[in-house]
């Protein structure tokens, strides 16, 4: 297969970015999208393109930077905006689980980083998602000291409730929900954590404090509000649904009323 790739290039956070277009051929349809980018990078390096060469008038900025790691959809590191969709034109996948068989041979594919006030660009397709860490540091935990726990089977959790908690806990923290939201809201991300813990008896003692603290931190870090467009649910690679946002709202309101 062959493609024209229109890729966002940006040297660092301080300078403006631009699109560059590359042609790539000889791609197997069983290759993954990120393997295709690996092949492109090999090609660009072999052609002698690099950020230093571009200062001498080279037409390409060299190998494209993008975050990736496990390449099996669980670490949450990868995240590209492909042809206008977070993680590209397949449902319930991360970018690394997207395969070239989903594209038409000869197509032009547009590749951009997540674009959100909460996620500044570091380079090319790499963004800074430390805001997510900060939100979780605000309260996304249960305050248990190591070694203080009782026997695990002393806490009974009905099967279905544990499963529902697990549905929310499946969040990989990729940021697709933010990238796809017209408001740049991180509500699905926050809700996944709040809801997963709120469903469990261990999470109840801190449930109110957690909901308030995490929402406050999200607002502080420049993420927008939720207007229930459900775009996040559509693009979440783990299929986390917005019923968890409803639970977050309930927890948040309960917390506010008990103030």
């Amino acid at each position: 297969m062959e493609f024209n790739l229109k890729i966002w290039r940006q040297k660092n956070a301080k300078v403006k970015g631009h699109f560059e277009t590359y042609h790539i051929a000889g791609i197997e349809e069983d290759a993954s999208f990120l393997e295709m980018l690996d092949i492109l990078n090999e090609q660009l390096i072999r052609e002698g393109c690099d950020p230093v060469a571009v200062e001498r008038g080279c037409q390409s900025s060299g190998p494209v930077s993008f975050d990736h790691d496990c390449r099996e959809g669980i670490c949450g590191a990868c995240g590209l905006y492909i042809d206008g969709r977070a993680h590209g034109p397949d449902d319930h996948v991360t970018t690394c689980q997207l395969f070239m068989r989903h594209f038409k041979d000869g197509a032009t594919i547009t590749v951009e980083p997540w674009r959100s006030a909460g996620f500044p660009v570091i380079k090319d397709l790499v963004v800074d998602r430390t805001a997510f860490d900060k939100i979780l540091q605000a309260g996304g935990f249960i305050s248990v000291r190591t070694g203080a726990a009782q026997d695990a089977n002393n806490i009974l959790i009905p099967h279905d409730r544990a499963e529902e908690s697990m549905d929310a806990a499946a969040c990989v923290g990729c940021g697709a929900c933010v990238a796809t939201c017209k408001n740049g809201s991180a509500m699905l991300f926050v809700a996944a954590r709040v809801s997963s813990l709120a469903l469990l008896p261990q999470g109840r003692p801190e449930a109110h404090r957690r909901a308030k603290a995490m929402v406050a931190k999200m607002d502080e870090l420049g993420f927008g509000n939720c207007t229930n467009t459900r775009a996040c649910e559509m693009e979440c690679p783990k299929g986390i649904n917005i019923s968890h946002i409803a639970r977050l709202n309930r927890e948040f309101l309960k917390a506010k009323f008990s103030d």
Partner: protein, 648 residues
């Protein structure tokens, strides 16, 4: 035996050793803990849990990871589960049995005392994880559910769908976040350790590269903990994450930490087969699938031919024409034999011409019987996400046709040598989790990596490190402007400058791929003397070629992934060579290490206890100088050493 190689195993009965050691360990009072600084490198299960537990104790912790967030560490990808000797199933499990299974599974190449301690603390891990809010699978009564894993005959594996590693890591990461919020831990994401700094022979800090700015930074502490995982990516194609690397371990090795059993690498039997040469990563299908999946190849070569030509489908081959070779060869354990045994059996069938895909390197893992027996819903609950993952990658549905699988490099049992306290041969330097060599011997059992990472991080290291630190609180903070830090940073700078100066024609990945082929062909599932000798020479030659002809584009002071890869590949050359050297020395077959020269008439691995019942610990002697082998004899005082038997 080198006098540095003192395993410090406490005397006394097996079940009292850990209690005894804990009672001997000197304590550090709370007001003195505040004066002490600890560096933890790596944020997987070992590193995150250790940093959280150390922070709770009141130490000042700095934690480093190469990703954008601690949550990305590769522990996140562990699928199947975590073992613990809870005996919740009333199936006669016990601490002793978990200990015994682990020692036996490791083919009698790990320490009794370490493994017993691991089994002993396993229960507390599950308690801790449930308290953190990890949504483990539950039965309808609300109690915790279990499943089985390879190499055992009880159900002791706790799990959260096929995402157990993710859930455990998010638990440890949550505890870490709690301590970051609390101010006791400071997190440095997108920082890569590039050297260990010694002052008066003690570990006192690291040089790290800020991966965003590209600048080198110095960090000092009273002790350094390495939790950077394994080195399976020496093979290029493995189930490890793309950024997983062995560089921190090699930096420690070059600074005097001995390297234990480097040749022990685990080849996992159930991975999605390689599909051509554009691939950069192999995907694991969880071992838990072997609970209900049946592994087979056709009995008739003509069926194999038709399968390869796509003239028939697997489901069309009648029952009597299928060879369920694990059930045939190992009736007592069937499809749940340990990983090394299952991998070799797959290779044996494929080498005999029965591989079921075009490359001849695949066998079937079939769920048709399980779906019939359990129904769609229960199979979906257990394995739904794995089936989905498989279908996304291969475009074939395991609900309709069996999965195709083949062995791939997955885990490294070898690692930095540590004593019972998890301290390396460098004072003040500790290694935990997959980064150390300690608990799995020649082969790790499924669902035991998570157990070991968390045992080390939550319950062992936070106790043992106190013994070393108990007389360090009076020492001033480490001065990062000392000549030792100057020298270490300068050496790193020289390395980086050298890479940029080469300006050759070949890319880092293309050379790494070639290293991978040398490793897989000669230091893979079957190893022999000639191949290993050849591998050592080829690796040396390839390294030379790398320094003559690699092209590292861009510059240091920017986000530069090619530079990151080049620095890691430098270390993979040395790891690969060390693995080959160790494999050459160990002329027995043992666990995942199979020497062609040492096998029984039936083709089973043949151990040589008379000559090889030891841990090999390699000491670095300088660039291009042969390392020195030290031997730590393994003594079995409490169990009888037997030939592993999974047949009856």
């Amino acid at each position: 035996m080198s006098d540095k190689l003192n395993s410090k195993i406490p005397a006394g009965p097996l079940e009292n050793k850990w209690t005894r050691r804990k009672s001997e360990i000197r304590l550090v009072s709370p007001n003195n803990k505040r004066k002490l600084e600890i560096i933890v490198v790596g944020t997987g299960l070992g590193g995150a849990s250790a940093a959280a537990a150390l922070g709770e104790l009141g130490y000042n912790v700095k934690i480093f990871c190469i990703s954008d967030s601690p949550r990305r560490a590769h522990s996140i990808a562990a699928q199947g589960g975590i073992n613990a000797a809870k005996n919740y199933q009333n199936d006669n499990d016990s601490v002793y049995r978990l200990f015994y299974d682990t020692i036996k599974g490791g083919d009698y190449r790990s320490r009794e005392a370490n493994v017993y301690r691991l089994a002993e603390v396993s229960s507390a891990i599950i308690d801790q994880c449930v308290a953190q809010g990890i949504p483990f699978a539950r039965e309808y009564g609300g109690y915790l559910a279990n499943r089985s894993f390879g190499g055992v005959q009880v159900s002791r594996t706790f799990y959260a769908r096929g995402q157990t590693g993710q859930q455990l890591l998010l638990g440890a990461y949550a505890s870490l976040n709690k301590e970051i919020a609390n101010g006791s831990v400071k997190s440095y994401p997108r920082h890569e350790m590039l050297d260990l700094v010694l002052v008066n022979g003690q570990a006192k800090g690291i040089i790290a590269r800020n991966l965003v700015t590209g600048g080198l930074e110095r960090f000092g502490a009273h002790a350094v903990v390495i939790a950077t995982g394994g080195y399976g990516n020496a093979y290029f194609l493995s189930t490890n994450a793309m950024n997983s690397n062995g560089s921190a371990a090699m930096q420690c090795y070059r600074k005097g930490a001995f390297f234990g059993n480097p040749c022990f690498a685990q080849i996992h039997p159930t991975c999605i087969p390689v599909h051509g040469d554009q691939q950069c990563k192999l995907t694991l299908m969880s071992e838990s699938l072997r609970n209900d999946g049946r592994i087979w190849v056709p009995k008739k070569l003509e069926d194999v031919e038709k399968l390869r030509k796509h003239e028939i489908k697997a489901s069309q081959i009648p029952e009597e024409d299928r060879d369920y070779y694990l059930e045939r060869r190992y009736p007592a354990f069937g499809n749940l034999v340990p990983r090394d045994v299952a991998s070799r059996a797959a290779k044996e069938r494929c080498d005999a011409g029965f591989g079921v895909n075009e490359t001849g390197k695949a066998v079937y893992l079939d769920f048709a019987d399980a779906i019939k027996r359990l129904g769609h819903q229960r199979v979906a609950e257990r394995y739904g996400n794995l089936f989905e993952m498989y279908e996304k990658i291969t475009a074939s549905s395991p609900w309709k046709e069996p999965m195709m699988i083949y062995p791939a490099i997955h885990y490294t049992m070898g690692g930095i040598w540590v004593d019972y306290d998890l301290q390396t041969t460098v004072p003040g330097l500790y290694a935990i989790g997959e980064a150390n060599f300690s608990d799995h011997g020649g082969n790790r059992l499924g669902a035991s990596a998570l157990m070991q990472g968390l045992a080390d991080g939550y319950f062992i290291l936070p106790v043992t490190i106190g013994d070393y630190l108990s007389n360090k609180f009076a020492e001033p903070k480490t001065d990062v402007n000392s000549p030792e830090f100057d020298a270490a940073e300068k050496a790193v700078q020289v390395r980086i400058d050298r890479l940029f100066s080469i300006k050759g024609k070949q890319t880092v990945d293309s050379i790494h791929k070639r290293l991978g082929i040398i490793m897989w062909d000669n230091v893979g599932m079957a190893r022999d003397e000639a191949g290993l000798k050849k591998a050592i020479e080829e690796i040396k030659a390839l390294k030379k070629e790398f320094y003559a002809d690699v092209n590292v584009p861009g510059s240091q002071y920017e986000f530069n992934q090619e530079l990151e890869k080049a620095l890691r590949l430098e270390d993979f050359f040395d790891i690969g060579e060390l693995m080959a050297r160790d494999a050459l020395n160990r002329s027995e077959s043992c666990g995942g290490h199979f020497r062609v020269e040492s096998q029984t008439e039936e083709g089973e691995a043949k151990r040589d206890d008379a000559n090889f019942m030891y841990v090999s610990a390699w000491e670095y002697k300088g660039e291009d100088v042969e390392p020195e082998l030290h031997k730590e004899p393994l003594k079995y005082e409490f169990i009888e050493v037997k030939t592993r038997n999974y047949k009856d």
